[in-house]
């Protein structure tokens, strides 16, 4: 299997901005070699650095040593420990304090001797990404190096990223979307990443202003909305990329008007990575990333991704749109996405009805779940001896905060239709009548 170099960028190009100091590829390679020499003999490594440059440095050093990096978008100590144990992590890389049952190293960006650009076998597993399942164990998704490289080049081409573009991400480097567009893109595509951890509108605006133009903002519908509502002053943008949830035309229109730059969306999933994109205001048709092959049926769809061994099933309903594009016609009923995290309603309902004292119950999603970035799930519960607060407290032990129900509707019995099936519409009417 042929090898692909760690980075495709020229030695003098800037790969990242860290504080005021631009990091050139030559400096990056020297830092990678210095860190690689300090790493333990064996991986896998759990990398949960908050600083995006340190996340990249740790990933690159581990990769050059043949260590697989475990990426968990959920950085709560419980989930990290679970993944470390379940997947045999030998050490962790982090810049934040953490108590874990394994050695935690801090990756330092220390200038070292000039170092070569290592070759990595294309079929080597570089990363295992985890989907945050609410239904039990986090699910692992292995990413061969060649597939990650192909994705980064596809993104650079799709978004017209030039060498000097500053790329500011608001999504953690450990989220698959964040990893592809803010870590792999500078490494194997184009542009220079931004190291800092930004979250609030004011952080985003200040960090962008400190970066050289042209500037690309990589974010989510939720943060786009917060940026627009907060009315913070933004510097000129060359483009905005949004993913994790569908973006409404209204928000895209507002963002393009406010910042005078195109708003593009990525469609993807942790299992497959980024697989298609569109400019929101040009219509509902999604253009596949280079090399993707879609199999689209009545009730199912899958995508074959270059470098991945098997087709990946998708949880949305797809319809062909001519000219190689497709439209998204809603999700398959059971799968819901809140705050960029996916869960099965049936799985959540199983957890709910497994709580001591709960006789019956059901999770339901509001009709506007995909259009409203703030939408939450609701639960209807039959539990004569329990309060709604007690039920939320019990759920909190097993379910991520994003999926906690708001509201909880306490009922003497679940509404059922003529054939005895729980009536989703009747529950929705009770939950969202306000």
């Amino acid at each position: 299997m042929p090898g692909l170099p760690l980075t495709s960028r020229g030695l003098e190009e800037v790969v990242f901005h860290r504080g005021a100091a631009p990091v050139t590829v030559a400096r990056f390679l020297a830092e990678v070699a210095a860190l690689a020499a300090r790493l333990p003999d064996e991986g896998p490594v759990l990398n949960f650095c908050a600083d995006r440059y340190l996340a990249l440095l740790g990933f690159a050093a581990a990769l050059s040593r043949g260590h697989v990096t475990l990426l968990s978008a959920d950085r709560t100590p419980l989930r990290l420990a679970e993944i470390a144990q379940g997947h045999g992590a030998r050490y962790a890389l982090s810049d934040v304090a953490a108590v874990l049952p394994l050695p935690v190293l801090r990756p330092d960006a220390m200038p070292g001797e000039a170092a070569p650009n290592p070759l990595i076998p294309a079929d080597a597993i570089a990363v295992i990404a985890f989907t945050s399942g609410s239904t039990g164990e986090p699910q692992p998704h292995a990413k061969p190096w060649g597939a990650l490289v192909a994705g980064a080049r596809g993104a650079a081409e799709t978004f017209g990223v030039t060498g000097g573009t500053s790329v500011l991400g608001t999504v953690p480097a450990q989220h698959m979307y964040g990893f592809e567009t803010t870590v792999m893109l500078p490494l194997q595509g184009a542009g220079a990443g931004h190291a800092g951890d930004v979250f609030y509108p004011q952080d985003i605006a200040a960090a962008l202003a400190a970066l050289p133009a042209p500037r690309l903002l990589v974010t989510t519908p939720l943060q786009l909305r917060a940026l627009l509502r907060s009315e913070v002053a933004m510097p000129a943008l060359a483009g905005i990329v949004s993913a994790t949830a569908p973006l409404s035309d209204a928000l895209a229109t507002e963002a393009e008007a406010a910042w005078g730059a195109p708003v593009r969306e990525i469609y993807g999933a942790t299992e497959a990575g980024s697989i298609a994109s569109r400019r929101t205001l040009e219509g509902p048709g999604w253009t596949p990333y280079p090399g993707m092959t879609f199999a689209i049926g009545e009730d199912s769809a899958s995508v074959t991704v270059p470098g991945l061994p098997a087709p990946v099933p998708l949880s949305d309903r797809l319809v062909r749109d001519g000219e190689g594009r497709f439209r998204l016609e809603g999700r398959l009923a059971d799968m819901v996405k809140v705050a960029g995290k996916r869960a099965s309603l049936a799985g959540l309902t199983r957890i709910l009805t497994g709580i001591d004292g709960v006789e019956d119950g059901a999770f339901v999603a509001p009709d506007d779940l995909d259009a409203n970035p703030q939408a939450r799930l609701a639960a209807a519960v039959v539990a004569p001896g329990l309060s709604a607060e007690a039920i939320v407290a019990a759920l909190r032990e097993q379910v991520e905060p994003a999926f906690l129900p708001r509201p909880v509707v306490m009922l003497p019995a679940l509404p059922r239709d003529a054939v005895g099936k729980v009536s989703r519409n009747a529950i929705a009417a009770l939950a969202w009548r306000r």
Partner: protein, 88 residues
């Protein structure tokens, strides 16, 4: 603002209204963590609170603030931070 309403209670009401919480404002323990345990808020809520604060009190929360974890540590800490920085 009525004179009988403490600032903490006002912030509690702002949180419950902005986030559509089940919990009544007076039931929020001013010392309990807002995120994770306690109220169980998440990052969507953090953005929503930041927006509500900027609208009502005229200043922006920032995450490069070293004290960020302390600010969101409890209702009491958040209310104190807002009171110290409000411009409206």
């Amino acid at each position: 603002m009525t004179t009988t309403l403490s600032f903490e209670a006002e912030v509690a009401r702002l949180i419950v209204e902005a986030l559509h919480l089940e919990t009544p404002p007076e039931a929020i323990d001013p010392e309990a963590p807002l995120f994770g345990e306690g109220l169980g808020l998440d990052s969507i809520d953090a953005l929503e609170i930041a927006l509500a604060v900027s609208r009502r009190y005229g200043f922006q929360l920032r995450s490069d603030d070293e004290r960020n974890h302390r600010i969101f540590a409890s209702l009491r800490a958040l209310a104190a931070h807002i009171e110290a920085h409000r411009s409206a």
